[in-house]
């Protein structure tokens, strides 16, 4: 099978990236040292090719009403143009089809950004719901074809300043913009740019969307301005330290989002009905999603390792790694109800059972370690 490539594929190869098959996409895992790229984002600025993710524009007379039923978070939290919302889209059984960000442009246009591997099924599901509810909306994926867009995430304490240096027109539109907001900036050297103050690293920064054919020029301009290219390896350690879920690993269509630390994104309070709500109310929460820090030498925490609570009940690590910021093995884990922050649990690593401490997520935010 031929791997899919983003518009930045040649740029990665020119930079000597180590390329890997990431869910069918030919993507950079690092450009030398994953740990150096990680530290660059925590202390300065780095950038990621996230053009494998998919922009989906939903346009029409009643987008808000459609999204009220489609996603688990409440789009009525989006009252001011430019505001963004993180949400899950659920199956009728209350499991996770995908997690996504919704950007409110105006009442006739909401923009979604969905995961790479799920984009096709997401769009098919949205189209199916569009027909089933007679919403009459136009749902357009913006990853392939004539109107394709590409996303570049610029992240780190110096990310915004660097972006303003490379795209001066963005400064006026975004200097006062709060986190989790977006601006559409026309007339830049790279055409119209979508500049969102969002990310997946626990640092400040922007996710920038431009027309696919402008992506390489933007990437090279950022690189020339001193923004360090960072691969999917660093992206994973950064998001894990930031306590952010990864679709396909921490949750998927077999997982109840209430058991995946996503209750904060699910609106069970308002009267509004949405797909999956009845199932979630019936099932409730049956496990909790926590952070673990390994306290004994003996390996690195990894996905699928077994977690054993003091009373013998078991859970599982869903994502684990060695934290470059903390210099310790850390993990996201689904553990039985009743396990508390501060408890010691044991993790099976090869032939050993090693002690780990349960902590509240996130581990790291804005360059600072928040757990001990």
């Amino acid at each position: 099978m031929t791997l899919k490539a983003t518009p930045l594929n040649n740029a990665h190869r020119a930079l000597g990236a180590r390329m890997v098959d990431f869910g069918g996409w030919d993507m950079p895992v690092n450009y030398g040292s994953q740990i150096e790229e990680h530290h660059a984002v925590r202390t300065d600025v780095g950038m990621f090719d996230v053009a494998h993710m998919c922009v989906v524009d939903i346009k029409g007379a009643n987008v808000r009403s459609f999204l009220r039923g489609l996603v688990a978070n409440n789009v009525d939290k989006l009252q001011v143009s430019g505001k963004a919302l993180y949400s899950c889209m659920l199956t009728p059984e209350g499991t996770v089809i995908d997690d996504l960000i919704i950007y409110f442009i105006n009442e006739e246009w909401f923009r979604l950004v969905v995961n790479a591997g799920t984009a096709e099924k997401d769009v098919a599901w949205m189209n199916q719901q569009n027909e089933a509810t007679n919403a009459g909306l136009t749902i357009t994926q913006r990853r392939d074809g004539a109107n394709a867009m590409a996303l570049i995430a610029v992240q780190g304490p110096n990310a915004r300043a660097k972006v303003w240096e490379v795209i001066p027109q963005a400064k006026e539109a975004t200097a006062e913009m709060k986190p989790f907001n977006v601006a559409l900036v026309p007339g830049t050297a790279f055409g119209e740019a979508m500049v969102a103050r969002t990310g997946y690293t626990g640092e400040d920064g922007f996710e920038i969307g431009v027309a696919a054919e402008q992506a390489e020029a933007l990437w090279n301009a950022l690189n020339a301005a001193g923004v360090k290219p960072a691969g999917l390896g660093a992206r994973d350690t950064l998001r894990l330290e930031a306590g952010m879920n990864l679709y396909g690993q921490d949750m998927d269509e077999t997982v109840n989002p209430l058991d995946a630390g996503l209750a904060w994104t699910i609106d069970l309070v308002s009267e509004r009905d949405f797909i999956g709500k009845a199932a979630l109310l019936a099932k409730g929460q049956n496990a909790q999603f926590v952070g673990l820090i390994l306290r004994e030498k003996g390996g690195v925490l990894r996905a699928h390792q077994k977690v054993i609570a003091a009373n013998g009940a078991t859970g599982e690590i869903t994502s684990g790694t060695f934290s470059p910021t903390m210099q310790q093995a850390i993990a996201l884990a689904r553990v039985p109800m009743g396990v508390n922050v501060g408890d010691t649990v044991h993790v099976e690593i090869r032939d050993k059972k090693l002690a780990a401490t349960v902590v509240k997520l996130p581990f790291v935010r804005n360059g600072k370690i928040l757990v001990a």
Binding site: N30, S33, I35, G299, V300, T321, P324, R350
Partner: protein
């Protein structure tokens, strides 16, 4: 092309093996292996005195990305381990052929001749 010293022997699982004058063999992981693993953060070595059959799991090297078993390239008894590398796992990244893992006294002195030479390993490591 990775650095593959001509004076060493190799395995298909990317260990390098050096025959020492005292009849022992020294084992590490190749430049190709360290590069594929990325930043190495943990090493677990066997105990001195442990006996292995060729192909047994003898050590573990973990990078940020993944865990990798290191196999005994020949049968025999572990006579020394490199504790320095446990304290500085990243030394494998910077000096794969210097940062050895363990030494084995082979049960068959000729066993090392059955391993890959540099040219043959070059066909594996790409």
């Amino acid at each position: 092309m990775s650095n593959i010293p001509a004076d060493l022997k190799y395995t298909e699982s990317h260990e390098w093996v050096r025959a020492e004058a005292d009849g022992t063999v020294t084992v590490g992981i190749t430049e190709f292996a360290q590069d594929a693993l990325g930043d190495i953060v943990f090493v677990e070595l066997p105990k001195v005195g442990a006996s292995f059959t060729a192909g047994d799991d003898a050590a573990v090297v973990e990078s940020v990305k993944a865990a990798s078993d290191i196999y005994a390239p020949v049968s025999g008894e572990v006579v020394a381990v490199n504790d320095a590398v446990v304290g500085a796992p990243e030394s494998i990244n910077t000096d794969a052929y210097g940062a050895w893992l363990f030494k084995i006294k082979p049960s068959d002195a000729n066993a090392i001749n059955g391993l890959l030479d540099a040219a043959a390993y070059g066909n594996v490591a790409h």
